[in-house]
């Protein structure tokens, strides 16, 4: 009998949706460069334009606004560097790809729940007349906490600032409409919603026109050069369509997640769910087991066949405190004991039970040792 494996690290990457697998294979088998004028080139061009429509439909944007890039990280760079605005403000809980893109950016504080301090944002924009771009993510990758993006859009608009929203974790998990987000630029990633890795998009909704960071053959209307990643684009489109069709399934995922949190708190009196009091993604829980280091929990759970992470995947190789939890003012000993459990569309009750058994057993072992 093979050992049971339970994947609860969906915020790091999601398994490929079957629809995306079929689209990728078909695209890999077709040869053609979309910039070529012959019929194989024209067919490739058509497939890119059809995909653009499918991705646009996922968030209710115009197809012309979709710029295909190599992933969420590049999308965030193109938004923040490509627009070339002098002043850049980012929330303190942004993904490392936003913080890394513009290390000089001013940080906007968040409250204890991880929500951007809107009064502070307003004050910062009012206090300096230079043209500014504000980057706030839709939902946090570590905690799942959802930001009040409509309010942020209203504030940025009132000050003539641009608003960039990193929707990488939210897309496919929440019903989204670009008009309701109100951002000028939105970042998307395929592999977080069941598409392949290596492809993402920056959505340009009209006001801001980013200048290409990667220059050359003038692809993507001059916004991003390089021969198009056809299989990635086709897989992204198929995953976006499947994600849009399956968005209602996240109600089931939410119930599983809520059940997991209730059971965890019932079993471990001092367990903490980070951001429990505010709106969060339906699939994410940042769960602290005080007294047991996150790395210890992750390794012990892995031995039991359960895959979770300590914070974000991109930085999980490094052992360091989470900048997200620190910005929320979470006590260092709680932050160091927080793991991220993230669910997805194939997660079952059995998966949750598997996790809870292993996690509570881990807790019992450690309490005995402590006693």
């Amino acid at each position: 009998m093979t050992r049971r494996e339970t994947y609860l690290d969906w915020n790091a990457t999601a398994p490929l949706r079957p629809e995306a697998g079929a689209a990728i294979t078909a695209a890999l088998l077709r040869c053609g460069n979309p910039s070529s004028v012959h019929r194989w080139g024209r067919a490739a061009r058509q497939s890119v334009e059809r995909a653009r429509e499918a991705v646009a439909a996922l968030i209710g944007a115009a197809p012309e606004g979709i710029v295909f890039v190599s992933g969420g990280t590049e999308a965030n760079h193109l938004a923040l560097i490509g627009t070339g605005w002098e002043r850049i403000l980012v929330s303190a809980v942004e993904h490392s790809s936003v913080l890394g893109a513009v290390p000089r950016a001013e940080r906007v504080a968040v409250d204890g729940n991880g929500i951007v301090d809107l009064a502070r944002l307003n004050q910062l924009l009012a206090g300096d007349p230079r043209p500014a771009i504000v980057s706030v993510m839709l939902a946090n990758n570590e905690t799942g906490v959802i930001q009040p993006v409509a309010e942020i859009a209203a504030i940025t608009q009132a000050h003539g600032a641009l608003f960039h929203c990193d929707a990488v974790q939210a897309a496919g998990k929440l019903p989204l409409a670009a008009a309701r987000i109100g951002a000028d630029l939105i970042s998307l990633s395929a592999h977080k919603l069941g598409g392949p890795p290596g492809i993402g998009a920056l959505v340009v909704t009209g006001k801001a026109e980013p200048t290409a960071m990667i220059r050359g053959g003038g692809q993507e209307r001059g916004r991003r050069a390089g021969s198009e990643n056809l299989s990635g684009i086709a897989g992204f489109a198929a995953a976006a369509e499947a994600a849009a069709a399956g968005i209602a399934d996240y109600e089931r995922v939410r119930q599983l997640r809520d059940g997991l949190e209730r059971a965890a708190i019932a079993a471990v009196a001092d367990a903490v769910v980070i951001g429990a009091g505010v709106r969060r993604l339906p699939n994410t829980t940042a769960l602290a087991l005080p007294g047991v280091k996150a790395e210890t929990q992750v390794i012990a759970l892995d031995l039991d066949g359960i895959m979770v992470s300590a914070g974000a995947a991109c930085s999980s190789g490094k052992v360091g405190p989470s900048h997200v939890l620190a910005a929320m003012g979470i006590a260092p000993e709680i932050a160091a004991a927080t793991i991220r459990v993230s669910l997805g569309w194939t997660t079952t009750e059995t998966d949750i039970a598997h996790f809870l058994d292993a996690w509570t057993a881990l807790h019992r072992r450690h309490s005995r040792r402590a006693a």
Binding site: E5, D9, A12, T13, A14, L16, G21, I24, T25, L28, L29, C31, G32, N33, S35, S36, V37, H38, R39, G41, S70, G71, G72, T73, E74, H77, S96, S97, V98, G100, A101, P103, S189, P196, P197, M213, I214, R215, G216, G217, G218, Q219, A225, G226, S227, N229, S231, G232, I299, D302, M307, V308, S309, A312, A313, C314, S316, G317, T346, D351
Partner: protein, 415 residues
């Protein structure tokens, strides 16, 4: 969660398909063996390679490191010198801008700062555009002209190099005319003057032997889809000894030793690695076969089409490339008249525009000949029958177009 569904390997039938694909410099078909290597990494090994705490992540990371080693071996590099990117365009942008931005941010004490960049007028658009962006930032960019053969003049390069030269960027093999530059000689010249040597090897890698040590190459760009690998992946070779320092273009999670952030696309990296391993194993034999087909195509076209002009050096060129001009005809007309052949005018990236190729103009071709140029790219899956079919189709189309033209010309009133 139950096991993920594997993707079944589809059967590929490339035989007897029209149009005949003679556009292998634009993009190459994926080798079925590469596809086979990639598929498991879309499904059962889908983990994020940077999630090092669990087995799904570790499997993906191990596959990426194996691919990195295969790619390094193809060019005589150390695996730690390979940085995966989204393609050669990004690699070229990273090489030029990365070196320039690092040099500006970290000036070496004493002496004049190195702020000169030398490249060729015939480089790929992504190198020229990156150089132009740096020129706008105050770097001194020299665009060297080339010989009528398309080859760099080493004397001219030697004369252009100064103590302020930071970087020289010369394409290994040309995307339009296929000419192969004297890389080892360029490398030696650069090394002697303390300048870095970058080569865009998107067309050359996997087609001709490359050795970063022997050629003294400091940075080299590689593309997956030009060597029967997938689109959306490429790499930049970055020398470690002596270390070449770069500012990243894309920063964040710190992947790829801080030189390129972003989650690595495992299946694409695996595909690039497999493509490199296949090329390394089969290059010598394949080059002989493809060169034979190209020579046959060239000889038969020269025999059948009067006045045909071959562009670029006739000897020092990629085995699979033929670039020719048919005097008196326009290339778009010839392409329209030959729907059974997939071929191109100039490079794919610029073929949507109707301007004559800046590359052919740099070779000194008249506008008329540049407008009459066709690029035929042969590859791994090209057969002798396809070559013969293409000769017939091109010769027939030329005859027809020339006859039409004579009639049109004849119908004009005498002046």
């Amino acid at each position: 969660m139950s096991a993920t569904t594997a993707i079944a390997l589809p059967k590929i039938d490339r035989h007897n398909r029209l149009p005949i694909y003679l556009d292998n410099q634009s993009t190459t078909p994926l080798d079925p063996r590469v596809l086979e290597a990639m598929l498991p990494y879309f499904t059962e090994h889908f983990g994020n390679p940077h999630s090092e705490s669990h087995v799904y992540g570790k499997n993906a990371a191990a596959a990426i490191e194996a691919a990195r080693a295969d790619l390094a071996r193809l060019v005589g590099a150390d695996p730690r010198e390979i940085v995966f990117t989204s393609g050669a365009t990004e690699a070229n942008n990273l090489a030029l801008k990365g070196v320039a931005h690092f040099a500006r941010a970290h000036p070496i004490g004493g002496g004049e700062p190195r702020d000169q960049i030398i490249t060729l007028a015939t480089e790929h658009k992504c190198v020229l555009e990156s150089a132009a962006a740096l020129a706008r930032e105050g770097f001194a960019v020299d665009y060297l002209p080339v010989e009528p053969s398309g080859l760099v003049s080493l004397d001219r390069l030697a004369a252009a190099l100064t103590d302020r030269t930071l970087l020289v960027s010369v394409m290994a093999a040309h995307n339009e005319i296929g000419v192969i530059q004297p890389l080892a000689e360029i490398g030696a010249l650069c090394r002697a003057r303390g300048a870095l040597f970058h080569s865009d090897a998107a067309q050359a890698a996997g087609k001709i032997p490359l050795d970063v040590e022997a050629m003294k190459i400091d940075l080299m760009s590689i593309s997956g889809h030009k060597m029967y690998g997938p689109k959306g992946v490429g790499a930049l070779y970055v020398r470690r000894r002596p270390r070449v320092r770069l500012e990243p273009l894309i920063d964040g999670g710190g992947q790829e030793r801080g030189l390129r952030s972003g989650t690595l696309p495992t299946p694409l990296c695996v595909g690039l690695g497999r493509a490199a391993a296949l090329a390394a194993a089969e290059m010598a034999e394949e080059a002989v076969r493809i060169r034979g087909l190209r020579d046959r195509l060239q000889a038969n076209l020269l025999r059948r089409i009067g006045g045909l002009v071959i562009n670029g050096d006739p000897e020092r060129r990629l085995p699979g490339n033929l670039n020719m001009s048919v005097p008196g005809l326009s290339a778009p007309d010839l392409i329209d008249a030959c729907p059974s052949i997939a071929m191109s005018t100039g490079s794919a990236c610029t073929s949507a525009t109707v301007e004559p190729s800046y590359v052919l103009r740099a070779l000194g071709l008249s506008e008329e000949l540049a407008n009459a140029s066709i690029r035929l790219g042969l590859g791994r899956f090209t057969t002798a029958a396809e070559v013969d079919f293409a000769v017939d189709a091109l010769a027939a189309a030329t005859t027809r177009l020339r006859a039409d033209r004579r009639m049109t010309d004849g119908a004009e009133p005498p002046t």
